[in-house]
């Protein structure tokens, strides 16, 4: 398993705001931020709720189910770490609970993805500390 020092691709910038997301992912859970006042679910995490401005923000595990909104294939590496993977796909998933995530197709994807397809989360360890949530078509 790579560590941060020998992993070539970009790693997340860990902050008090984002750390819980990565902790949940490492434990095999997909979580988004939930407002402790009004219940709004949002992602990426915010210091306050975009709906009611409450600073009382919590993390909630979601179903991991969603809809494939779109996907693209990079033929250019904007980071050297992606050069060996070209061409690589990136997709956009709307979670059943609402938030929109940019992510990758996970292992076990077969066939041409279709916009609108139902998808579910899988977890791909990247380093000893970071696990990336990815998605595959059901």
């Amino acid at each position: 398993m790579p560590t941060a020092s020998n992993y070539a691709k970009p790693l997340p910038r860990l902050t008090p705001l984002t750390q819980p997301f990565w902790d949940h992912a490492k434990a095999g859970r997909l979580a988004v931020q939930a407002c402790g006042e009004c219940g709004d679910l949002h992602f990426p995490p915010s210091p306050v709720c975009p709906k009611c401005l409450s600073a009382k923000q919590e993390w909630r595990t979601v179903s991991g189910r969603g809809t494939l909104m779109s996907w693209v294939v990079f033929h250019r590496a904007y980071w050297d770490g992606f050069k060996d993977e070209l061409p690589y796909p990136v997709c956009l998933v709307e979670l059943a609970e609402g938030p929109l995530l940019a992510t990758n197709f996970g292992r076990g994807m077969t066939g041409e993805p279709k916009v609108g397809a139902p998808v579910h989360v899988v977890f791909e360890p990247a380093t000893d500390a970071i696990t990336l949530p990815q998605f595959v078509v059901d």
Binding site: P10, P12, P44, W71, V73, R76, W79, V115, L132
Partner: protein, 376 residues
């Protein structure tokens, strides 16, 4: 809209200037901006010391710009080097003029992205989604185009019509960077950057600068060229998914519609009155999105609307007659506004649109703006 100041025909563009476009490592933002300013001053014949408003965009330090040009204005505004700032800046200048904060505003934009090797992705545009490899505005436009294609059946050959028409215009523009005509097949055979978008769907990256000089409609009559007035303006932001930069799941449809309707209502006109449309075109799909948002065609039908060379001069809706960002120059909307002024003046030579009395600018971006230019 009773609670807003009616800006209709209150502000005018009196002078415009554009530099050569290319790669100019021997100069910098300030040098290029000064060149554009001198051209705009010559275009209208103003005494530069009359300029008492300064708006700069993508220029590092407004005060250094003022020092270089020998200006100590009463009003200054600085905007970041984001593509969506041109429409915003021009409207803010119109407001400053309408409220007397300035009498003559110089708006300056400079870009040195080519000679300084700007990439618009990766390390220089770090964001939350980097670990999954999502970066660059081209990628998010590719994301939107794939969705548009899936929802409405839009094809890449239809998308090619945008690039082909704008390249045709660039071939008629001696100052454009890319002047060799292309075909739909050339587009289809160009290499993918972020699939489904190809090289010919991407704007250029080049150095250059643009200047506009604006004043009130009354004062505008005292200068060399016939004034071009701003007949209508509109705007609407869309920040809901801003962490996915340069992206809107709904193609900026609603904000573009609102910006357009506000501008049409202020000008008292409708689509059929527009002789030419200048559209922010960082990537070809945004042209389709703008056409739908403004209502030139029903939702989902922009692909069919642009077929058959519809966007060329002489076609049903001439667009980006200077070649746009795709083929003329990546001046982030500013050169398109200058082109609108030149079309209304009738200065465009072989690419002149007939009876160009009303020319519209639009940007379908997280900050949608539309401006309607008219003969003063």
């Amino acid at each position: 809209m009773a609670d807003t100041i009616d800006l209709k025909n209150t502000a005018a563009v009196i002078g415009v200037g554009t530099t050569r476009y290319g790669s100019f490592p021997e100069t910098d933002d300030y040098g290029l901006a000064a060149e554009a300013f001198i051209t705009a001053v010559g275009d209208c014949g103003i005494n530069k010391n009359e300029v008492d408003g300064l708006l700069v965009c993508r220029i590092p330090y407004y005060a250094r710009m003022g020092e270089i040009l020998g200006l100590n204005p009463r009003w200054t505004m600085t905007l970041p080097g984001h593509g969506r700032m041109s429409g915003m800046g021009i409207i803010e200048a119109a407001l400053a003029l309408a409220t007397g904060r300035a009498r003559y505003v110089a708006l300056l934009y400079a870009n040195i992205g080519r000679s300084r090797r700007v990439n618009y992705g990766g390390e220089e545009a770090s964001g939350f989604w980097d670990p999954w490899g999502l970066t660059s505005p081209g990628a998010t436009h590719a994301m939107m185009f794939r969705r548009h294609a899936a929802l409405y059946g839009t094809t890449t050959r239809q998308l090619a019509e945008v690039s082909v028409a704008f390249r045709h215009h660039a071939s008629l523009n001696p100052n454009a960077v890319m002047r060799v005509p292309i075909t739909i097949d050339d587009h289809e055979n160009s290499r993918f950057i972020v699939e489904p978008l190809r090289l010919l769907d991407y704007c250029l990256i080049n150095d250059g600068a643009v200047c506009m000089i604006m004043t009130t409609a009354e004062r505008a009559r005292d200068f060399k060229k016939p004034p071009v007035v701003i007949a209508g303006v509109g705007g609407q932001e869309s920040y809901d998914n801003a962490s996915i930069a340069n992206f809107d799941i709904d193609f900026w449809y609603e904000p573009t519609r609102r910006a357009g309707e506000e501008a049409y209502a202020m000008a008292g006109i409708s689509h059929s009155d527009i002789a030419a449309l200048m559209c922010y075109d960082n990537f070809s799909p945004t042209v389709l999105f703008a056409l739908e948002g403004l209502g030139f065609c029903p939702r989902g039908e922009s692909g069919r609307f642009v077929e058959g060379g519809a966007l060329k001069v002489g076609g049903r809706l001439p667009m980006n007659t200077d070649g746009g960002h795709l083929s003329n120059s990546y001046m982030q909307g500013w050169a398109l506004n200058v082109e609108a002024v030149r079309q209304v003046r009738g200065e465009c030579g072989p690419r002149q649109v007939r009876d160009a009395e009303l020319v519209q600018f639009v940007e379908a971006t997280p900050c949608c703006r539309s401006i309607i230019y008219a003969r003063g």
